[in-house]
C-alpha cells in the first residue's frame, strides 16, 4: 500500500496554504454548503457514520464526542489541539504550515455541527511561525467572507481565534489546555465533568486534534461511505505517520490505517545504514517499545498495535536500530517526563525525579543491579496513582525496555561493577 493524501493534500497541490488555491480546489465549499443547506445534525451524522476517530492519541470516535454536547447550553466552543509536543510527533506542524485552511474549515464545520460560534486554535508556544500562518489564513478567509459574522447571509456566525501556549507538554492534555487557555496554570482538571459538558469557561466544548479536524471537510464532501472504504473497519481513513530516528528518510507519511508495517517503512527507505531493526516506539516517547519480532507483518491500526502490546496513539514512530542502547533510550524519555511533569500530583512529580536519578547513574556507568531493581519499585509507586496519564506515560519506556531488553540493563550495571572493580584494584 502506498501514500494517500487526504489531509497532506499540499503534497499534491502546490501553494495550497494560499486561500485562492485552497478555494480553487473546493476549499470552504463544504462549510458554505453545510451552513446554507444542511442542518447541524446532518453534519454530525455524517462524521459519526464515517467512523472518524481522534488523531490526537486516544482514537476516540469524533462524531460521538461531538454528540455529548448538551443541545441547549450556549455558548459552546471548539478548541483545536495544536499543542503537538509528544517527542517524535511533527504532523500538525506540517499541516498547519502547509494546509492551514483545511484545518480551519474542519474546525468551522465542527463548530457548526455542535452549535458553537467560536473556535480557539491552541498552539504550543514554539509554534510561533505556525501561529502567524494560521492568523493570516483566518484573516484572509474572513475578509473573503468564508468565516465571520452571519455567514453567507444566514444567521450563523463563526469566529476563529489563534491562542498561544508557552512551552509545556502537559498543555496537550485537553483539560490542562483549557486551564491554560483560561489563564490558569496549565494543569489537568478532574474528570468528570468532561469538556463536552463543562469545558472552556465551563461551557460545552469539544477539543479535537488538528489532524482529526483536517479530515472533516473531505468527509463532508465525499460522504461517510467513501471514508469508511479507506483503512480498516474499526480504524477507517488515513493516518499521518511521523517517522523519526533511525530511518533513511524521516518525515510524515500519510497512509490508510491498517497498512502493514513493512510498507510504511519502505516508504521511508527502511532502517538507515542498512542496519537491522531493534524496536520502535509507535506513539512517541510515551509508548511502550515494540520489538522488531512483533512488528513483522503488523497492520497498523489502533486495535492491532494495542494487541502487539503498545499503542498507536498519534502514530509517531521513533525507529530504533540494532545498535541502540535501550537504557540510553529510557534515560532520554525519563528526562523528558521529569521535565514535563506539571507538579500537581506527587507520585508523578517525585517518581519521575527518582527515576531520573537512577537512569543518570546507569548511563554514567555508576549504576548497580540494585538500581535496575529500583526501576520496578519506583514504577509501582507511580502506576495507577497519578492524577492524569502523564505519570503512566513516563513508565512506558522504562518498563517495556526492562522487560524486553534486560540484557542492556545488565550490561549497564555490569559496566559499573567493572569500573568499581578497577577502582579497588
Amino acid at each position: 500500500m502506498g501514500e494517500m493524501h487526504v489531509v497532506l493534500r499540499h503534497r499534491d497541490i502546490p501553494d495550497l496554504h494560499d486561500l485562492d488555491v485552497y478555494v480553487a480546489h473546493g476549499g470552504y465549499a463544504q462549510l458554505k454548503r453545510a451552513v446554507t443547506t444542511m442542518q447541524p445534525a446532518e453534519v454530525l451524522d455524517i462524521v459519526k457514520a464515517s467512523g472518524l476517530r481522534g488523531r490526537g492519541g486516544a482514537g476516540f470516535p469524533t462524531g460521538l464526542k461531538w454528540s455529548f454536547c448538551p443541545r441547549d447550553v450556549y455558548p459552546k466552543y471548539i478548541v483545536v489541539n495544536n499543542d503537538e509536543s509528544e517527542p517524535g510527533t511533527f504532523k500538525d506542524h506540517e499541516l498547519t504550515l502547509r494546509n492551514p485552511h483545511q484545518v480551519i474549515e474542519g474546525a468551522a464545520l465542527a463548530a457548526y455541527a455542535i452549535g458553537a460560534q467560536a473556535v480557539y486554535i491552541y498552539c504550543r508556544g514554539e509554534f510561533w511561525q505556525e501561529m502567524k500562518v494560521l492568523e493570516a489564513a483566518v484573516a484572509r478567509a474572513r475578509a473573503a467572507g468564508w468565516l465571520g459574522q452571519r455567514l453567507h447571509g444566514t444567521d450563523y456566525t463563526c469566529e476563529v481565534y489563534v491562542t498561544p501556549g508557552a512551552g509545556a507538554y502537559i498543555c496537550g492534555e485537553e483539560t490542562a489546555l483549557l486551564n491554560s487557555l483560561e489563564g490558569e496554570l496549565g494543569q489537568p482538571r478532574l474528570k468528570p465533568p468532561f469538556p463536552a459538558v463543562a469545558g472552556l469557561y465551563a461551557r460545552p466544548t469539544v477539543v479535537n486534534n488538528t489532524e482529526t479536524l483536517a479530515n472533516v471537510p473531505p468527509i463532508v464532501e465525499k460522504g461517510a461511505a467513501w471514508f469508511k472504504a479507506i483503512g480498516t473497519e474499526k480504524s477507517p481513513g488515513t493516518k499521518v505517520f511521523c517517522l523519526s530516528g533511525h530511518v533513511e528518510r524521516p518525515g510524515n507519511y500519510e497512509v490508510p490505517l491498517g497498512t502493514p508495517f513493512e510498507d510504511l517503512m519502505a516508504l521511508a527507505g527502511g532502517v538507515w545504514k542498512g542496519r537491522a531493526l531493534k524496536a520502535i516506539m509507535p506513539a512517541g516517547a510515551s509508548s511502550p517499545v515494540t520489538p522488531a519480532a512483533k512488528l513483522a507483518g503488523l497492520p497498523l491500526d489502533w486495535e492491532r498495535v494495542a494487541a502487539a502490546g503498545s499503542t498507536l496513539g498519534s502514530a509517531s514512530f521513533i525507529v530504533l536500530d540494532e545498535t541502540t542502547d535501550m537504557v540510553w533510550v529510557a534515560d532520554k524519555t525519563t528526562r523528558f517526563f521529569q521535565h514535563e511533569s506539571c507538579g500537581k500530583c506527587s507520585p508523578c512529580r517525585e517518581g519521575t525525579y527518582w527515576l531520573k536519578q537512577v537512569y543518570r547513574r546507569l548511563v554514567a556507568g555508576q549504576g548497580t543491579a540494585a538500581d535496575v531493581d529500583l526501576i520496578g519499585d519506583i514504577a509501582r509507586q507511580i502506576d495507577g496513582k497519578c492524577f492524569c496519564p502523564l505519570g503512566e506515560f513516563a513508565l512506558s519506556a522504562p518498563r517495556s525496555t526492562l522487560q524486553l531488553f534486560r540484557e542492556d540493563y545488565d550490561r549497564a550495571a555490569a559496566g559499573a561493577a567493572a569500573q568499581n572493580g578497577q577502582a579497588h584494584a
Binding site: A118, E126, W128, A139, G148, P164, L181
Partner: protein, 184 residues
Amino acid sequence: MGTLQTTFPAEIQAAIANYPPGRQASAVLRLLYLAQAAYGHLTPEAIDEVSGILHMDPTQVRGVAGFYTLFLEHPHGGYVVQYCNDLPCALRGADDFLPVVAEKLGCRPGETSADGLFTLECVMCLAACDHAPMMQVNLEYVLDLTPEKLDALVAEWRAKAAANPPRRPPFGFGPPSEMAAPHG
C-alpha cells in the same frame, strides 16, 4: 503607565479582544510575551503591570509565568538558541553535534556568550524531528544543521548585531491578530 502599555498599547487591546468580555485572564500568555518584549525579561514590574491590566492577582500571574518554559525570568542574550537534543533528534546525532553548536556560539548549554549575543539552551522535542539536528533561534526554526550552515548563520547574526544591537529580548509574540471580530 508602565513600559508594556507605552510600548504596545494597540497590541494589548487586540490581545484581550481575542477572548470574551470578562475573560481577559485568557490573554495572560499573550500579554506575558508582550511584557517580555517590552521589559527584556519578566521583571517583577512586568508581572505587576500585566496583573494590573488584566485585573489578576500578581501571585497568579507569577505562577503562570513560572510554569512555562518560554517565559524568561532573567536577562538572556539577543539570540536565544534552543537546541533540541530530545530522543528522536539524539538518535540522529544531536548529542554529538551539541559541542559544535556550543563552540560556534561561544557558550555552553545554560549559559550566555561573553559578548551577550547568544544564550544556548537544550530543549525538549520541537516537533521537527525529521530535520535533526535542529534548533529554534528566537522561535524561528533552523533545520538540518551542519557546521557550515551554522558558521554562515553565526556570521550573519554577528553582522546584524554589529549594525543594530539585537533587541532584548529576542522574542515576543508578534503583533497579535486583529483578524477575527473582537468579542463583545
